[in-house]
């Protein structure tokens, strides 16, 4: 099972990102684990300064904005 983490201080764009990932997974029928990380120490621990950012199975795959929906589909089913 893939593990997603959405990094961000709880702003609107971070919510949108998390929802988009959950939605894409449900649509593809893929089961994922999704966690929202708001702790700054952990966010910076990933080497990320611009949020929202997405971590897939421990690797930062995106930072600095809401990712494109094609991109999210690739992560979920790729």
């Amino acid at each position: 099972m893939k593990t997603f983490k959405v990094l961000g201080g709880g702003c609107r764009n971070c919510e949108v990102t998390a929802e988009a990932i959950a939605h894409a997974a449900a649509e593809a029928g893929v089961e994922i684990a999704l966690e929202k990380v708001t702790d700054m120490a952990e966010i910076l621990g990933y080497g990320v300064m611009s949020t929202p950012a997405v971590v897939l199975d421990g690797t930062v795959v995106h930072a600095g904005g809401v990712p494109a929906s094609e991109q999210i589909r690739d992560w979920v089913s790729g």
Partner: protein, 317 residues
């Protein structure tokens, strides 16, 4: 082209009188909605194609350990050319502190970021002409540079929350961006959707306010009541801008309407900067990393800087 469209809809389609208040307001609204949104989509798309190669993580690595003026130059440039979600200001702040970048440089970045961006700059050129656009960008760079220096003089380190110093930043390899033409196109479209989706309300609101001002405020009223170029009109404009908040792009139509009614240029610039860069919600986000005295000082430094810039431009004009 946009003016004709405004004429066509306001006077042709709706049958309003060009000399009437509502006619002038509707014509202004239609014209500016068309002009600003066309420009907005074009600029964001082209910028997305070129794609900002300047990620904050890269700048942080580059700025680290440089002499102060180089670090400040990079920080101001980064703030000006890359748009950030305001929620990024906290991790950016911590990341800069952790790299040992002086706080004054970080403040320069925090000032430049909301005030100047390439989207607002291009739309300024389209709406108010390149001279005003250049003045605004120049004023923003000056305020960011010297505002950060002024903050530094107060030794703001003592007001940084303790936990900030303890955070250690990890080194993670970022996924390489897709730089093929198709990848760039997809990214650019995504940027258009994301940025327009985020700011369109502010822009519409700004155009609405500008249109009302343009149509319903008589020309003589401004010079009489807002005191054309009296010294106090500039600090008054700055104070007025603090509770008002809009995205830098949304203020442009308001500024346009003000200028056509004879508000002095420095006063208009001061209001624009204050509305775009001095906003209570954005300041309060920073409370997570710095304590109240630093926040108050930050707001005061900005207010003084905007006032000085406004006076300066009124003197030159």
């Amino acid at each position: 082209m946009f003016e004709q469209l405004g004429d066509l809809i306001a006077f042709g389609l709706l049958g309003l009188e060009p000399a009437s208040r509502s006619g002038a307001a509707v014509q202004f609204f239609v014209m500016d909605v068309a002009k600003i949104f066309v420009l907005l989509v074009l600029v964001i798309y082209v910028m997305g194609l070129l794609r900002a190669m300047l990620s904050p993580e890269r700048v942080r690595a580059f700025v680290r350990g440089r002499p102060d003026w180089q670090a400040r130059g990079m920080a101001v440039t980064l703030g000006a050319v890359t748009p950030f979600c305001s929620c990024s200001s906290v991790p950016l702040f911590i990341g800069f502190v952790e790299a040992g970048i002086p706080l004054g440089v970080t403040f320069s970045f925090l000032i430049a970021s909301p005030m100047i961006n390439e989207v607002a700059a291009v739309i300024l050129v389209g709406v108010l002409g390149w001279k005003l656009a250049a003045l605004y960008v120049l004023a923003g760079l000056l305020v960011a540079w010297f505002g950060g220096l002024a903050m530094q003089a107060f030794r703001p380190e003592r007001w940084v929350e303790d936990y900030v110093w303890k955070i250690r930043m990890g080194e993670t390899a970022m996924a390489e961006p897709d730089t093929s033409l198709r990848g760039r196109h997809r990214y650019a479209l995504g940027e258009v959707r994301e940025i327009v989706g985020r700011i369109w309300r502010w822009v519409l609101l700004g155009i609405g306010v500008g249109a009302l001002f343009h149509g319903f405020v008589p020309a003589g009223w401004v010079t009489e009541h807002l005191g054309g170029d009296d010294w106090f009109s500039v600090p008054a404009a700055v104070l007025l801008g603090i509770p008002l908040y809009a995205n830098a792009t949304g203020v442009i139509p308001v500024a346009e309407a003000m200028l056509t009614k004879g508000v002095a240029i420095g006063t208009t610039l001061a209001l624009m900067m204050s509305v775009a860069a001095l906003s209570l919600p954005e300041l309060l986000i920073l409370r997570k990393v710095i304590r109240w005295p630093a926040l108050a000082l930050f707001a005061a430094v900005l207010a003084v800087a905007f006032t000085l810039v406004g006076w300066g431009f009124n003197l030159i004009a």
